[in-house]
């Protein structure tokens, strides 16, 4: 038995990942050894240093086209662009987590998530100001997993990254301070279904390995070209896609989304809706474009059908929702369909705007949805956040600013011009039409019109209805939430009015290595 050779690692190219994982590891130590009084500020600082450091590292690495760790990790334009996006969204989410001004008990997270809901101890904890801060290292690990996910050039690494990002998310979902039962249900549901999806992914991995003899994306590509597609390979690809689509909450693998979005603490929901989607689509793009880009007949019909299903399901079921969080969950499903429209836009020989358009859309959608969920944390009644639609009636009179911001985010989600949502939609639709996917784009446009109805309903409620006498109050956000809202709103506006430079960036980053 020969000695195992350590693979050659390019530490510089891995700097973003090292930053985040380092911060996560330090966070665990702090949780264990630092005194309670200083834990919260220290944890927030570490998480921010990790994510912002990662962002800076991706910026410095811009232009790198490298394969490292014995070919298992690709550090290229799309990986860096999406890692940067995840780092931004992650840093903003950490800020949302650290908000201490809104909940009377100073934090949106419960100290002990495993206590049975409704028990005496649970009721004590609901109002206790004793908070644990494990949420920060957990989130940082998830961010690290997501960033690894977008850079994975190897199906095994992709699977590992999938687990690294998923497991902390399952826990985070169960941490809500209020409505404990719903939160625990969300965590269990997400975990069980997520485990299923992981199994699908693993099975698909095995089949693809059996068909092509490799788990390396570049080798799979070679095998596909030389040997052509076999039934085994197509089956394996299908299973891999199922696993990834689950994370991206694409219909028909979406059924967990509304429940989990509703049950999870809102700041975590914001994080999941924004960052998980970026990571999942990063992996989808890499898998389909790098490994199967030359055999697009294997996935194009599948993605086509999934896109239509997702847009229709998201838009139509969104109409019937009465809870703002659930509504935004269905909106996220519809947006996953729009994103797949961009994924379709791969031209022959790797041309086409699909990659750049999808990456831009991910950034735009992530920031907007983060802002929208961030606003939800402000509207509260005695029982925590007031997310039922009827409670939002007449909000414009209580708080014109919150109502105006929410309207702006909703218009962006609906894709009205001069918001980032429109620029993103335009980019992905253009990419799809370039490759002749007319019917898909027309479906997408009809779905946009349907979805606009439920976004508008919230606007109607806020502006044109009279407030209920016992309606919710609008909390005054502390500095962290204010920063998040300001950044996301500004980004939504700038990416709508002057998107040129970011589009350029996405365009120049849109070259896969490997």
């Amino acid at each position: 038995m020969g000695a195992i050779e350590a693979p050659d690692l390019s530490y510089a190219a891995l700097a973003p990942l090292l930053f985040v994982f380092g911060a996560a590891a330090v966070g665990v130590l702090v949780e264990a050894f630092a005194p309670r009084a200083v834990r919260h500020p220290v944890q927030v600082a570490i998480a921010l240093v990790g994510t912002i450091g990662a962002l800076v590292a991706t910026v410095l690495l811009a232009g790198t086209q490298d394969v490292t760790a014995a070919g298992a990790l690709a550090v290229d334009g799309p990986a860096l662009f999406l890692q940067g996006t995840i780092a931004v969204l992650g840093a903003l989410s950490v800020l949302l987590f650290s908000e201490r001004a809104l909940d009377p008990a100073r934090s949106a997270f419960v100290a002990a998530a495993a206590v049975p809901a409704g028990s005496v101890r649970d009721r004590e904890l609901a109002t206790s100001e004793r908070v644990q801060t494990e949420v920060y290292p957990l989130a940082t690990f998830a961010i690290g997993g997501m960033m690894l996910f977008t850079a994975a050039n190897d199906l095994l690494i992709m699977f590992v990254a999938l687990e690294v990002l998923s497991l902390p998310l399952y826990l985070l979902c169960g941490l809500a301070r209020r409505r404990r039962l719903l939160s625990q249900e969300a965590a269990v549901k997400y975990f069980l279904l997520g485990a299923f999806a992981s199994a699908f992914f693993l099975y698909g991995l095995a089949l693809v390995y059996g068909a092509t003899g490799s788990v390396r994306l570049s080798d799979i590509r070679v095998a596909v070209v030389t040997e052509g597609g076999s039934a085994l390979m197509v089956l394996g690809l299908g299973l891999l896609v199922v696993g990834l689509m689950f994370k991206a909450s694409v219909a028909p693998f979406h059924s967990w989304t509304p429940d989990v979005y509703q049950g999870a603490p809102t700041a975590v929901t914001a994080f999941m809706a924004a960052a998980t989607k970026v990571a999942a689509f990063g992996a989808v793009l890499r898998l389909l474009y790098v490994a199967f880009g030359t055999a697009d007949w294997t996935w194009r019909p599948l993605v086509y059908a999934l896109a239509i299903a997702s847009m229709v399901v998201g838009a139509v079921l969104g109409l019937t929702q009465t809870d703002v969080k659930r509504m935004l969950a269905y909106s996220s499903i519809a947006h996953a369909g729009f994103l797949l429209t961009g994924v379709i836009g791969l031209g022959p020989d790797g041309t086409g705007y699909g990659l750049a358009a999808t990456m831009f859309y991910l950034l735009a959608y992530g920031l907007t949805t983060l802002g929208a969920f961030g606003l939800l944390t402000l509207v509260r009644d005695g029982d925590g956040e007031a997310t039922h639609l009827s409670q939002w009636a007449g909000l414009a009179q209580r708080s014109p600013l919150v109502a105006a911001l929410m309207t702006f985010f909703l218009l962006a989600l609906a894709g009205i011009p001069l918001t980032s949502g429109f620029t993103g939609k335009f980019a992905v639709f253009r990419a799809a039409i370039e490759v002749g996917a007319w019917p898909l784009v027309v479906t997408a446009l009809v779905a946009s019109a349907i979805a606009a109805f439920f976004y508008l309903r919230v606007v109607v409620l806020m502006y044109f209805s009279d407030p209920a006498p016992d309606g919710p109050t609008v909390g005054v956000p502390g500095l962290p939430t204010t920063i998040v809202l300001a950044i996301t709103a500004a980004a939504t506006l700038v990416l709508g009015v002057l998107p040129g430079s970011v589009l350029d960036l996405a365009e120049s980053a849109a070259v896969f290595v490997g």
């Binding site: 011009p417 639709f429 027309v442 508008l456 998107p499």
Partner: protein, 554 residues
């Protein structure tokens, strides 16, 4: 003078005005509306100066500005006007100050048990709407046009939804969704155009002048045409797509309704002329009979529905749908006379229907009801109001001597040589127009005094009381001669109201007698459009297919 970026100013001034007004505290309502009036008058001045700077005999698009906006998409912030667009800018310039004046004393819908809402937001939305309306007509980049087209929905949505009648929520959402659906389908066509330009010109562009040069496959043309057409047909509205307008027109505040019907809907017919015909000449020619069928069906159907309306604002909305049928008939008849008539109609309809809406609004402001049956005999007490009402009505039914006559006549004689059957059917609409206008006028203004404006007064001996003359006709209800007489408590037009209606009344009469300057402004642009679709602008017969190199298909 042509160095001044007039069009940019016309967009920027009201936008800045809107921002300033929106920033005012709610208590400074009076300042807000004064500011709104000042800004709208400034825009009118700018519109006039723009017209002076414009040379009717010069190039097709003048006063152009072009700045790269989103280079990745090939989008430019490109503005420029031809005679058609300029006439619409003038219309906007005139109507907005009038609307500000007409809405001067408006108050928001009272909500029981709550303090009245401030009108500041109303003025801010109104100015923002003006800015976007100017943009939509001045854009020469299809993408930019689309952006203005969609963005325009937002202020109108809030005008209807926040300041409208009792059913305003429903109307506002219906308005927004109809327009958005049309807009999104148009977006598909806009992207399609881009893709075609990308394959033909090597790089994608949205510039109108470049897109006009494309040679698009006729089948693709039909698809793209359909996308644009649906958006414009909803906006205009043509008949199967019209159901949002009566709701919006009825529920919108009067000022909003005037701009909605007077200007916003013109974007639809303007779009037919500016985008559908020049960009898709083959498809326009092939599909024209279908469009004409919709137009003529609309003229008759909407007129019949208007006759049956009991709500004055809905009635006026339906008359507009009928008028849009005439405009579409003029556009898709493909003769220079008819198209000139159609453009003239767009301006005249804005003035005449705008006035009709404003007068109806004044009646409603006095009685508080939109129902025709709640009024009667106003003319005796308010002769000026009745006079203006009658004039607006007559202009609506295109009586000779009023502005609408010229345009309707031009449309009909222009369309007859190429489309005799449709034209003959359309003339029935004229008869129906007389019916709905005069019936409304008669019921509201004449007859015995009745309805919501009747109050009991303690002045039985006063000779001023209105007593219906007996034997005046079978239709006259005879009131019991009461001890307490019942009189109409109605004021005639106030000085502000006279100031509001005077410009429109003057325009109706002047343009009715001397429309020549406007025609001279419009006709070069119309001729250029006719050349685009391969119609000889000199004569009224369509050129032989293919003679202009656009590849005829029929």
């Amino acid at each position: 003078m042509s160095d001044v970026p007039w069009l940019v100013l016309m967009i920027a001034v009201p936008a800045v005005g809107a921002a300033v007004v929106a920033a005012l505290p709610p208590a400074r309502e009076a300042l807000a509306r004064q500011l709104a009036l000042a800004v709208s008058l400034l825009v009118l001045l700018l519109a006039v100066l723009t017209t002076i700077a414009f040379d009717p005999g010069g190039e097709r698009f003048q006063l152009t500005t072009s700045v790269a906006w989103i280079p990745d998409f090939g989008v430019e912030f490109a503005l420029g006007v031809d005679g058609i667009a300029l006439s619409m800018l003038l219309l906007i310039g005139v109507l907005v100050p009038v609307v500000v004046g007409a809405s001067w004393r408006d108050t928001p819908v009272p909500r029981p048990g709550r303090p009245a809402r401030s009108m500041t937001a109303f003025w801010a939305w109104l100015l923002l709407l003006e800015s976007l309306m100017v943009g939509v007509f001045a854009a020469t980049d299809v993408f930019l046009f689309y952006v203005f087209f969609e963005a325009m929905l937002v202020p109108m949505y809030f005008l209807i939804g926040s300041f409208g009648g009792p059913n305003r929520q429903y109307a506002a959402v219906k308005f927004f969704l109809y327009s958005l659906l049309g807009g999104l389908v148009m977006l598909a066509s806009v992207i399609g155009l881009y893709v075609v330009s990308n394959s033909q010109l090597g790089e994608g562009t949205f510039a109108f002048d470049a897109l006009r040069q494309l040679e698009i496959d006729p089948n693709v043309q039909k698809l793209l045409f359909a996308g644009f057409f649906l958006a414009f047909a909803i906006k205009a509205p043509l008949v199967p797509f019209h159901t949002w307008l009566p709701d919006s027109g009825a529920e919108a505040p009067i000022g909003g309704a005037v701009l909605l019907v007077g200007v916003l809907d013109k974007v639809g017919t303007f779009g037919f002329l500016r985008y559908c015909l020049p960009l898709f000449p083959d498809a326009s020619r092939d599909l024209a009979p279908w469009v004409l069928a919709l137009a003529v069906a609309g003229i008759i159907y909407a007129a019949l529905l208007a006759v049956g309306q009991s709500d004055m604002k809905r009635l006026v909305s339906y008359t507009s749908i009928a008028h849009f049928g005439f405009i579409a008939l003029g556009i898709f008849a493909f003769t220079t006379e008819a198209a000139t008539g159609a453009v003239l109609y767009m301006v005249n309809h804005g003035i005449a229907t705008g006035l009709l809406f404003i007068v109806v609004g004044m009646v409603i402001a006095r009685g508080g009801s939109r129902q025709i049956r709640d009024y009667g005999g106003l003319a005796a007490k308010a002769p000026l109001l009745a006079g203006v009402f009658l004039l607006a009505g007559l202009a609506s039914l295109a009586l000779p001597g009023t502005n609408s006559f010229v345009s309707e006549f031009l449309v009909l004689i222009g369309a007859f040589p190429t489309r005799p059957v449709f034209t003959i059917i359309a003339t029935v609409g004229i008869v129906l127009a007389a019916l709905y206008v005069l019936l409304m006028y008669q019921r509201v203004m004449h007859g015995p005094p009745r309805g919501v404006l009747l109050v009991e007064e303690d002045r039985a001996e006063d000779g001023d009381t209105v007593r219906p003359a007996s034997g005046a006709g079978g239709a006259t209800a005879v009131l019991e001669a009461p001890v307490r007489a019942r009189v109409l408590a109605v004021r005639d037009l106030s000085r502000r109201e006279i100031a509001v209606v005077t410009p429109l009344v003057a325009l109706i009469l002047v343009l009715g007698v001397y429309p020549q300057p406007l025609i001279e402004l419009i006709s070069p642009a119309v001729e250029a459009t006719m050349t685009d679709i391969g119609v000889d602008p000199g004569g009224s017969t369509p050129a032989a297919p293919g003679s202009t190199g656009t590849g005829g298909t029929d």
